[in-house]
């Protein structure tokens, strides 16, 4: 239950709990003296405004880990430690400066020159210089276990505000990772650590807008950095409690103890009525798909290795119904090009058959695809070819109720088009293992985005031969085992072109998009909405649909820090 992502699993339980809570609630006020919301001023700081309470999905005891390169790091990038620039992944716009001021590439993408801000200080008062940047880059190059951005350059400081990074090969597309996801640490503190991979960093000195205030096993609190270069942030304290999952998240939200939570709550359509003062924002980002083990050459077995079967399933799905039954209409349209429908409009190829996957089923088209590929309906109403019926198993995780509902809905929808899909529930660990080994026919899953608003990353993560392996081996992100030399070639060419140079990139995007629309190793279903509930009564400045200045999700770094920097308490 405390699985960090039990979105779904706890949805039923949460609904249940909340309905009892509502039924037994005589007044709308929460219980007095409760954990997170109570600000009795025990610290003695009279007149201090209430902290912003954010639930990031943290469970269990909080351990004091502030090393930003470790997976369990608290606060996340952008809060205590900062990157050089901020890349917005939900809107196609220029990167915004953080510690950097500007950057430029040489023509062949092997040299990146960065100008840093001057006059920035570490929170202990020492000045921040280019030496700190070079120290950080050298450290992650030396300790491979910290290098979670794949940095392969050689950095030198030309003076206190200029850094040059040289690469052996064109590295335009590594730019967003290096500039946006590497957290700069102070040389004068870190140079003495014998092994930074084992450093918890209980005391953190950073350049960021927030400092560590207080840490307890049940919650940690960050306070505004009074010396922050752009002025002390308006939100003075941010508290991150740890709960036992979304169910207690819903309980705490109901009691007004949480100001911001990412994740579903019961009865999403009526959130603003059930939680007075709260507002909802749903941002479509992750693309929900059926993974297929698509490549017979790498050892996949079953009817789904035939592209015609995958295409037929694509047309047979009723996406409107799926969205309503399984996702409370929180999901959005998806493109078979796997570019994001709104964000990537400009790079979507004109040669696609469908720019957007049909929301209504097209059984005639599915039938025509299967029949022209040599399939014929058997006596049981199921298509078959060479005596082999189109019967498939769809694996989902036991407990994720929205995915389970989706799997049942899909199997009913596909049965109408003569494709038999049986849903099978596995434990989370089994499911993750089966996905990596290729031990599946179909799986409900989702594809995620890269460090910048560019579809290149989705293609490179999920469609490149580099990130797959034969069935039985441990694949990277490309679990479908899809492999197409033309896609690989286009990806290699894209790496040689600057992201801002749109015209020369388009032919390669055209190739990739049309190839994957035909092959369809991941059958597109819907773009999943990330649901946020936030207290608009207590704080203003939240991202809105019209102004998505950062991806709203409490656990997303460094986007969350951009949001904290813009929030203003209303004093209520």
């Amino acid at each position: 239950m405390s699985m960090k992502t039990p979105r779904a699993f706890t949805r039923v339980a949460a609904g249940f709990a909340a309905s009892i809570v509502v039924a037994g609630c005589s007044s709308s006020a929460g219980a007095p003296g409760q954990a997170a919301g109570a600000s009795s001023g025990a610290g003695g700081s009279a007149g201090a405004s209430k902290p912003l309470v954010v639930y990031t999905g943290a469970t269990g005891d909080i351990q004091p880990i502030f090393n930003p390169y470790l997976p369990g790091s608290l606060g996340g990038g952008g809060m205590i430690f900062e990157s050089l620039f901020f890349y917005n992944i939900v809107r196609n716009e220029a990167p915004r400066p953080r510690l950097g001021e500007s950057f430029s590439w040489n023509d062949d993408g092997t040299e990146l020159s960065i100008t840093l801000r001057s006059g920035v200080n570490w929170s202990d008062g020492r000045p921040f210089t280019a030496k700190d940047v070079v120290f950080t880059l050298n450290m992650i190059a030396k300790y491979k276990a910290l290098n979670n951005t794949g940095y392969r350059g050689k950095a030198t400081a030309t003076d206190d505000t200029h850094v040059v990074i040289k690469f052996d090969e064109p590295s335009f597309l590594d730019g967003p990772q290096i500039l946006g996801r590497i957290w700069i640490v102070p040389e004068h503190k870190w140079k003495d650590f014998p092994d930074p991979t084992k450093e918890q960093l209980r005391e953190a000195v950073g350049t960021g807008p927030y400092l560590v205030d207080d840490l307890k096993p049940q919650a940690f609190t960050l306070k505004a950095n009074p010396g922050y270069r752009d002025g002390e942030p308006a939100v003075k304290k941010i508290r991150f409690p740890s709960l036992s999952g979304n169910q207690s998240g819903a309980t705490a939200l109901k009691a007004g103890q949480i100001d911001w939570q990412t994740g579903p709550v019961p009865d999403i359509a009526n959130v603003e009525q059930s939680y007075p003062g709260y507002k909802l924002i749903i941002t479509p980002l992750n693309q929900m798909v059926m993974d297929t083990c698509a490549n017979a050459d790498l050892g996949c077995k079953g009817p789904q290795t035939d592209p015609a079967v995958r295409q037929a399933m694509y047309y047979a799905v009723n996406r409107t119904q799926l969205n309503a039954l399984a996702f409370e209409n929180t999901s959005a349209e998806i493109s078979p090009s796997m570019a994001l429908v709104q964000r990537d409009q400009a790079v979507m190829s004109g040669r696609l058959q469908n720019k957007v996957a049909p929301m209504q089923p097209d059984p005639a088209k599915a039938q025509q695809i299967l029949e022209s590929a040599g399939y014929a309906k058997g006596a049981d109403g199921i298509y078959a070819k060479d005596g082999k019926p189109v019967k498939l198993t769809l694996k989902t995780v036991a407990g994720w109720t929205d995915y389970i509902t989706a799997a049942d809905t899909l199997s009913q929808q596909l049965a109408k088009s003569g494709i038999k899909v049986t849903a099978q529930q596995l434990s989370y660990n089994e499911w993750a293992g089966a996905r990596q080994r290729g031990d599946f026919q179909l799986m409900l899953d989702s594809l995620f985005q890269g460090p910048a608003a560019d579809p290149f990353y989705v293609y490179s993560y999920f469609y490149s031969t580099d990130s797959t392996d034969k069935v039985g081996g441990a694949a990277g992100n490309n679990v479908s085992r899809f492999s197409d030399p033309e896609v690989d070639k286009a990806l290699a060419e894209l790496k040689k072109i600057d992201i801002s140079d749109t015209a020369p990139r388009q032919p390669y995007f055209d190739t990739i998009q049309t190839r994957i629309e035909q092959a369809m190793p991941y059958i597109p279903l819907l773009t999943q909405g990330t649901i946020n509930i936030y207290n608009a009564g207590k704080f203003t400045g939240w991202p809105a649909k019209e102004d998505l200045y950062a991806f709203p999700a409490a656990w997303q770094a460094p986007d969350a820090s951009e949001i904290y920097l813009r929030l203003k308490p209303t004093g209520k």
Partner: protein, 331 residues
């Protein structure tokens, strides 16, 4: 003396078997910590690029390439030194530190709740057995129903009524985060306040079993000749009930109590989940979900040692309160 040596020998063998199983069982679980971490980060919408995967594999890598036999030997050695390794889910915090922060919460909460439940259940069972055939008999089905109600549901109802509607108790957590944990009144008061509701659910749901067991033993003890003799001698009813009947009837309950004391350390996973209580049960669940072998082994070991230890103590105590159990050794 041979009796005690035999006991100790048996417990040592049991400990070795438990420690060995403890080593092998987690390794048979599907999945590995890095894949699970990756899948989890991804599920939460984070980008998990191939580079991050490689870095985390190096960081958390459990596949040392060592043969299993050698891993097992070094594991035994580490266990002897009390070195449980580093927790993968809270890297780089040592397992012993993770356990140390959560164990006291569970021991105090579940411990007090268990003791209360045994005392109340056994006491009531004694009364009900003594006055069998009166209206008190209704207590048996009443408490059994409470024990039979799914614990999860019972806890939620109590939360809804006492926590949410009446507002007497906080809904979640182990203490008010405004206070600093330590020996100060604010914090202790808040910890007690937060503990009442979870403890109450444990007592309510388990008291029925103790009551039923004690009442049945009482009834059969009351038909013994020595009770009849005591009554015939004209001893006061109270004395007969407590010192003749209850003292003998309580023997099975004491054995049961010992076993449940051991389980106190394992925590009450569901309780801790419902109330977001910071105890060892929620840690164990987390460890299993993250394939955190080191943490799982640490918690299992602590639990095993506690169960075996509690059993040993009661075994030894038993030979004091019930001399019949060591008759064989003395003969």
């Amino acid at each position: 003396m041979r009796y005690y040596l035999r006991k100790f020998g048996f417990y040592l063998a049991a400990l070795w078997a438990a420690v060995t199983l403890n080593f092998f069982i987690p390794r048979m679980m599907p999945g590995d910590p890095v894949s699970i971490l990756m899948a989890k980060l991804q599920q939460r919408g984070g980008s998990v690029n191939p580079e991050a995967r490689r870095a985390y594999e190096l960081l958390l890598g459990t596949d040392t390439g060592e043969p299993l036999a050698r891993q097992y030997l070094s594991y035994l050695g580490n266990m002897l030194h009390g070195d449980f390794g580093i927790s993968v889910s809270a890297y780089p915090v040592p397992v012993s530190e993770v356990i140390a922060t959560s164990l006291p919460w569970t021991v105090v909460l579940v411990g007090i709740a268990t003791v209360l439940s045994v005392l109340v259940g056994t006491g009531l069972g004694m009364l009900v057995g003594w006055r069998r055939g009166t209206w008190l008999d209704a207590l048996v089905p009443a408490t059994t129903v409470l024990a039979a109600v799914p614990y999860f549901w019972l806890a939620l109802v109590l939360v809804a009524v006492l926590g949410s509607a009446l507002g007497w108790f906080p809904l979640i957590g182990g203490y008010d985060v405004d206070f600093t944990p330590g020996w100060n009144l604010d914090f202790l008061g808040s910890a007690v306040h937060h503990g009442v509701l979870p403890a109450l659910t444990i007592v309510i749901s388990s008291v029925g079993g103790w009551l039923l067991g004690m009442r049945n033993m009482m009834v059969s003890t009351l038909s013994e000749d020595y009770v009849l003799t005591a009554t015939a001698k004209g001893l006061p009813n109270r004395r007969v009930m407590i010192w003749y009947a209850a003292r003998n009837a309580a023997l099975p309950s004491i054995a049961g109590f010992a076993i449940s004391l051991g389980f106190v350390v394992a925590g009450s996973i569901v309780t801790e989940q419902v109330f977001s209580y910071p105890g060892i049960g929620s840690k164990l669940l987390e460890a299993v979900q993250n394939n955190d072998y080191a943490l799982m082994q640490g918690i299992f070991l602590v639990t095993t040692v506690a169960v075996l230890g509690a059993n040993l103590v009661v075994d030894l105590l038993y030979s004091v309160i019930d001399p019949r159990t060591r008759a064989g050794a003395n003969a």
